[in-house]
């Protein structure tokens, strides 16, 4: 009769292979808080701010439509987003922005300010070898 530890080496090797495979596919999954705001004054872009911070406590919600960005193995989300800013900002626009517009016409002279804001939203971020998956939590 085979002992209980008869397959230990085999099991360990299988586990190692699986863990290596898994770790190479997904390095880690984190949650980030991201907010975005930009100001347009008199039809000219005046200020644009993208705030990214790692969440300090677990977010509540289910991942929504994810965005996949290219990654060269880095774990720095700010750097990855900076390299793919257009794509990321397009995705943010799709999520929905709050529009606040104020216009003033004094003695027939017009001036206007438009502020578009993405309120602070939690994103689940999966860092892979060649890509990063970013999904908002709702």
């Amino acid at each position: 009769m085979r002992s209980r530890d008869g397959n230990l080496n085999f099991s360990l090797s299988i586990c190692t292979v699986i863990s290596l495979l898994f770790s190479s596919q997904t390095l880690k999954a984190d949650e980030y808080l991201i907010s975005y705001r930009y100001v347009v004054k008199d039809a000219t872009l005046y200020n644009e701010t993208l705030q990214i911070a790692k969440a300090m406590q677990k977010c509540v919600g289910e991942p929504q439509t994810e965005l996949i960005l290219e990654n060269d193995g880095a774990n720095d989300l700010k750097k990855i987003i900076a390299e793919n800013s257009d794509e990321f900002i397009d995705a943010i626009h799709k999520l929905g922005l709050h529009v606040e517009h104020n216009e003033r016409t004094e003695n027939l002279q017009n001036s206007s300010t438009t502020i578009l804001t993405l309120q602070t939203t939690c994103f689940k971020v999966d860092f892979n070898d060649n890509s990063v998956r970013i999904a908002p939590l709702k």
Binding site: L45, L97, V99, E100, H101, E106, N107
Partner: protein, 164 residues
């Protein structure tokens, strides 16, 4: 008897005529001014505007509404390259398009103030403001010509989005 009836009829007719004259005097209008006809070119536009209001789309459960807007933006003066100018102008144009969508869907608040001193307008101010949340708007076309960027955007409004 017949004469008395005729007299009564004449008296009532004359009293009616007298009332008309008194009313005309009270309003300060002489007889010729009452016959003036005012030609107002703007008044002819009332009917088409009414027709436009009648043909305006109303959101219903059966039919979605597609809203199409074109936002405009210009690049700042101190850009380091044409590409940067384009990117910044496009961002401004998108914000303008979002604002136009918000105006169409949610409406505009308008406040006006005129300061009149010694029978003259010293200051005339009109303030407008829009506050809305815009989601799922799509860019259809972008053009950039002579520093002006135009972004055409569309949004599909369905009844289910508002039925809460």
């Amino acid at each position: 008897m017949q004469y008395s009836l005729l007299l009564a009829a004449l008296l009532s007719a004359s009293s009616l005529m007298a009332d008309d004259i008194v009313q005309a005097e009270n309003t300060g209008l002489s007889e010729p001014t009452k016959n003036i006809t005012v030609v107002c070119p703007e008044c002819t536009k009332v009917a088409p505007m009414q027709e436009q209001a009648d043909s305006e789309q109303v959101l219903s459960a059966e039919k979605d509404i597609l809203i199409n807007v074109t936002g405009q933006g210009v690049a700042p003066m101190d850009t380091s390259s044409p590409a940067q100018a384009y990117a910044l102008a496009k961002r401004a144009a998108v914000a303008d398009a979002y604002r136009l969508i918000a105006e169409k869907v949610k409406g505009v608040r308008i406040d006006g103030q005129d300061l009149i001193k010694n029978m003259m307008v010293k200051r005339s101010t009109v303030r407008t403001s829009v506050n809305a949340m815009v989601r799922n708007a799509n860019v259809v076309e972008t053009t950039f010509k002579e520093g002006l960027c135009e972004v055409e955007m569309e949004i599909l409004i369905s009844h289910s989005q508002f039925a809460q």
